[in-house]
Subunit: 592 residues, 2 copies
């Protein structure tokens, strides 16, 4: 696929020097991602596209350009492409996300609107697609493939089936089918996944993969045969090598919580070819983007971990363009979109200037392009269709006649840092007919409340969550984003419930009746309409409020957000109850 | 695009080891074109596709295969892909061509049936397409883009326009638009080329380029913008570097006459990345294929000229698959077609075994697959629709009243080896009203006779052709393939004319009335139905016959075949007269 110019003949004339072109960027050290060379050049741009790169006599024919920009001997590289991101994870809308990442040199992202689609279905894909148009960056959409992620074991707000994929594939900026998380379904040839993948392939979409924690290399082979061509769930050194050897594109990830670059580089930096190595951020929060970086930070980490700078640039640009089947992205070359960066060097990658479609859109870390807000009805649609609960509902009733103790399948974190959980049967005290955790500082209550009108609700205990008092609640709760509350006492839990129902979703914490932190995410309970700086500030305040309740994690927001993610082993929690992830079945809270 | 398996679910089962697979090739040094590594492995194949490559414990699970082949510690590499070839240049039909190249390790070619299409039009594309089906190799078709090459300056047997491209694009094995020779038309945005390219792109075809002898780098840029992505007309070192820098895929060519690998390698072997470097043979004759090689020879030459063997393999396989937009060709990996070779080492590339779609099709240089003939009506269709000429017509009449000398624009070869020609005005003796070359050993008469029923005919003189006596005639005469005869005396010229009209086309030479060589090419005057060995033998005999008439070239067959090629600078010859290639106009034979 190609980004089409408005008038190819005008580009031809500009290339041939028959008409003046819009822009020349001169006095740069041009990084050629086709040959790996760096040399002085002038890049000529017209109507958004590169029309010529003059490397023989870079100062020649500058008069052919209406505007000449002095590149100050910086390195000129293609704009970064993020191979896989969920914009919702920034908790910003697509347009505010753009305001944050453009100054970091990201000119294209491939976004999977999986989160908001779990809330609003197909409409959400339209919203994210349209919100991403007319921006000084490119936001491609991959259609969420697994909504819900695990049918039958959780209830989301929508279902995306093959027919929906077929419909959504017609949107102009849709280019792929997003991370096919049901890898078991793919390798076993389950009808649901086969149908969805076929619908996507029929529409010319590429298939994005997602295969975490698999050790059986025959599954890598089968997954590739099944359709997905890439995977951003690569954590271990051996895994990176094995996936690349198999032919899978490895989208090496550096998200806000999951840092995979170091381990991946350890295995692959000495390979002769890196054609199938790309970079992505997956989930990156506003403060992380603003104060650490986006794709610039990923490239920096790659170089820090032993990759040559030019090669790192290629992984972040041309390799990714190929992976996503875009034929004129990822290089600064004739006929390619004029998405390009000036950076001071090829190890720190301080982004001096960002050009998108030939326009200077950011300079010295500041956005200079104008981004208009584009309000949409969905941004103010109330999404908290939860049952009406009372304080009493936040007390966990023990089974009839169980005496002063009861066996409970407790959702147990491996540690206070790791997100992996399992179910462990424990004996828990019962007081006045209710399960009582007051004597055990490591235990909390946990409730998931369906917010899509089913009335469903599950109630269990959780160990090693980290909360020492009060309650932590969130409507950001992957992947179904039901309302999830972890609490030490019923009053706190109920307070959080009320606060989130009232504000239309988001994150809240309480100590007794007092709300000690509130982050309003009124767009589907997932995103705010705040600008990046305000977003980062409020997000930081929320983190501090959670830390004050005992959560020890550096990023305590994500603790509750992944508790209900039933594609991550071993046991998870859903609005239907406790889920055995590998066996794909529900486990009773109170075992017989 | 992908080659689709018959039943993906069966492949998945075989990949997972749930059912036995058809074949395992074990005990090999597996060359991984994704990473550049070489390691011991076993390749598992099912229903024509690779389902798994076991690199951890290659001897494991061999019992899961119905057949196990011992690779004898040879290197296992993907089958070679020829990025650009005209099968007609082998003078063999597609099926005989297959018999010749498969033992050399070529499992895929991208063929441009440009020659036969100039004779029979769209029907010829269908013929070549269908003849290439059900073979133990893959013959992709690129639709000829320039039939005729230079409209208005020559008459071919057909015209391929945008509507024809649109129709032909529907044939299953059509993947591209073939070498867009009218590069001036492309860079100037001429309607004809723009329409044809748009028709191709609309049908998802890639655009193959052809841009010889251009020094203006802005033209490289404009050409890439215009649509073509690659070029096999790269002769000089600087040109290879410049095209690769621009982003053009360089299909480095090693044809029977034009050897470009050495010059290209001199410029590019030290590049860090070679993603856009591919290999092709363009035109390769039967004896060359049989006794020297096909793609194996190209790869050998690349290594001889300083390229690493693994990299050369990648250029001849994966890089080309990408260029032609085929997503599961060019590597031995799960989901990819099981096209693979066993070679003894990575410098000589002696091909020990050839597998196509998982079948052993050649071993130790011998075809073991069964190739059935597939006779088609077109193969015996008479194509010599020429005017009825007499001996008198082979005498060149001087203009009325010119006296004993006349100025003639002589088509002049730069040397007896080079194919480049220009028009040079000379004063030539006139005897009895006829132009007389008898006293000048460097001159010959040259006639081109339209063979598509227009009755057109042009008559001129040619210098430095190399013929010392008799006549040389051919219906292989790029690109229109009109009947072309070069002769020292009318009798010889007429004898050749009669012989070729009688046999239905081909090549002939005569000394006076005696036919001293005849190569019958009854398939459109371009191809024989002979088997490769017989073809090579007859072709060799014809070469010897031409050498006996004075032609000094190592391959004298091609001398006449390129005399009328009006896309090669500076002046050429057509059925309409003498052509100024750069100015795109006719020049009078007798200047005023």
């Amino acid at each position: 696929m190609k980004i089409q110019p408005a008038d190819k003949r005008e580009l031809l004339k500009a290339a041939m020097g028959k008409i003046p072109c819009d822009l020349a960027v001169t006095n740069v050290r041009y990084v050629n991602v086709f040959t790996g060379e760096v040399y002085p050049a002038t890049v000529f741009v017209h109507q958004g596209f590169v029309v010529h790169v003059e490397d023989q006599d870079p100062a020649k024919e500058l008069s052919l350009a209406k505007q000449v920009i002095d590149g100050e001997n910086h390195f000129l590289i293609p704009g970064f492409i993020d191979a896989h991101i969920h914009i919702e994870s920034s908790m910003m809308t697509p347009r505010n996300f753009a305001r944050a990442v453009i100054p970091r040199g990201t000119t294209t992202v491939v976004t999977d609107p999986h989160e908001i689609t779990n809330v609003f279905g197909e409409e959400a894909v339209h919203y994210m697609h349209d919100a991403g148009l007319d921006l000084p960056m490119r936001q491609f959409i991959d259609i969420p493939s697994c909504v819900p992620a695990v049918p039958g074991l959780e209830n989301a707000g929508a279902v995306i089936d093959a027919a929906a994929v077929d419909r959504l594939a017609k949107l102009p900026n849709v280019i792929g089918l997003a991370e096919v998380m049901d890898f078991i379904g793919v390798v076993e040839g389950d009808d649901r996944m086969v149908d969805i993948i076929e619908a996507a392939e029929k529409n010319g979409l590429y298939i994005q993969g997602h295969m975490p924690g698999v050790e059986n290399r025959r599954m890598f082979s089968a997954y590739l045969i099944g359709g997905p061509i890439c995977c951003h769930e690569t954590r271990d050194t051996w895994e990176a090598v094995a996936k690349l050897r198999t032919g899978i594109h490895v989208d090496a990830r550096e998200s806000s919580i999951t840092k995979n670059i170091a381990d991946i580089m350890a295995g692959v930096r000495d390979h002769t070819f890196h054609d199938h190595l790309c970079f992505c951020t997956d989930d990156r929060e506003s403060d992380d983007i603003l104060y650490v970086g986006h794709m610039d930070e990923v490239v920096r980490q790659a170089v820090k971990n032993g990759m040559d700078g030019i090669n790192a640039v290629k992984c972040a640009t041309l390799n990714t363009a190929r992976e996503i089947h875009m034929d004129n992205l990822g290089a600064v070359a004739p006929g390619y979109t004029a998405d390009m960066l000036l950076v001071d060097n090829l190890s720190d990658f301080n982004v001096k200037s960002v050009f998108y479609m030939g326009q200077l859109v950011a300079k010295d870390g500041k956005l200079v392009a104008d981004i208009q807000d584009k309000p949409a009805e969905i941004e103010s649609r109330y999404s908290m269709n939860v049952p009406n609960l009372t304080l009493e509902d936040f007390r966990l009733k023990a089974p009839e006649g169980c005496g002063d103790k009861v066996k409970v399948n407790v959702l147990t974190y491996y540690s206070e840092e790791l997100a992996i959980t399992r179910a462990v049967t424990e004996e828990i005290p019962v007081k006045n007919g209710f399960v009582d955790i007051s004597s055990d500082p490591g235990l909390c209550y946990a409730m998931i409340i369906n917010r899509y009108g089913t009335g469903g609700r599950a109630f269990d205990l959780v160990r090693n969550f980290g909360l020492m008092k009060g309650a932590d609640g969130s409507t950001v709760s992957h992947d179904c984003h039901n309302l999830c509350i972890v609490f030490k006492d019923a009053e706190s839990g109920y307070a959080v419930y009320k606060a989130l129902v009232e504000c239309g979703g988001g994150m809240a914490c309480a100590d007794g009746n007092e709300i000690t932190g509130l982050l309003r995410l009124q767009v589907g309970g997932l995103m705010s309409t705040l600008r990046p700086e305000q977003m980062a500030e409020q997000s930081d305040a929320m983190k501090k409020a959670l830390n004050a309740l005992g959560l020890p994690q550096k990023n305590p927001l994500l603790r509750i957000a992944t508790m209900a993610l039933p594609v991550i082993p071993e046991a998870k929690f859903s609005d239907l109850g406790l889920v055995d992830v590998m066996a794909k079945k529900l486990i009773p809270i109170f075992p017989q």
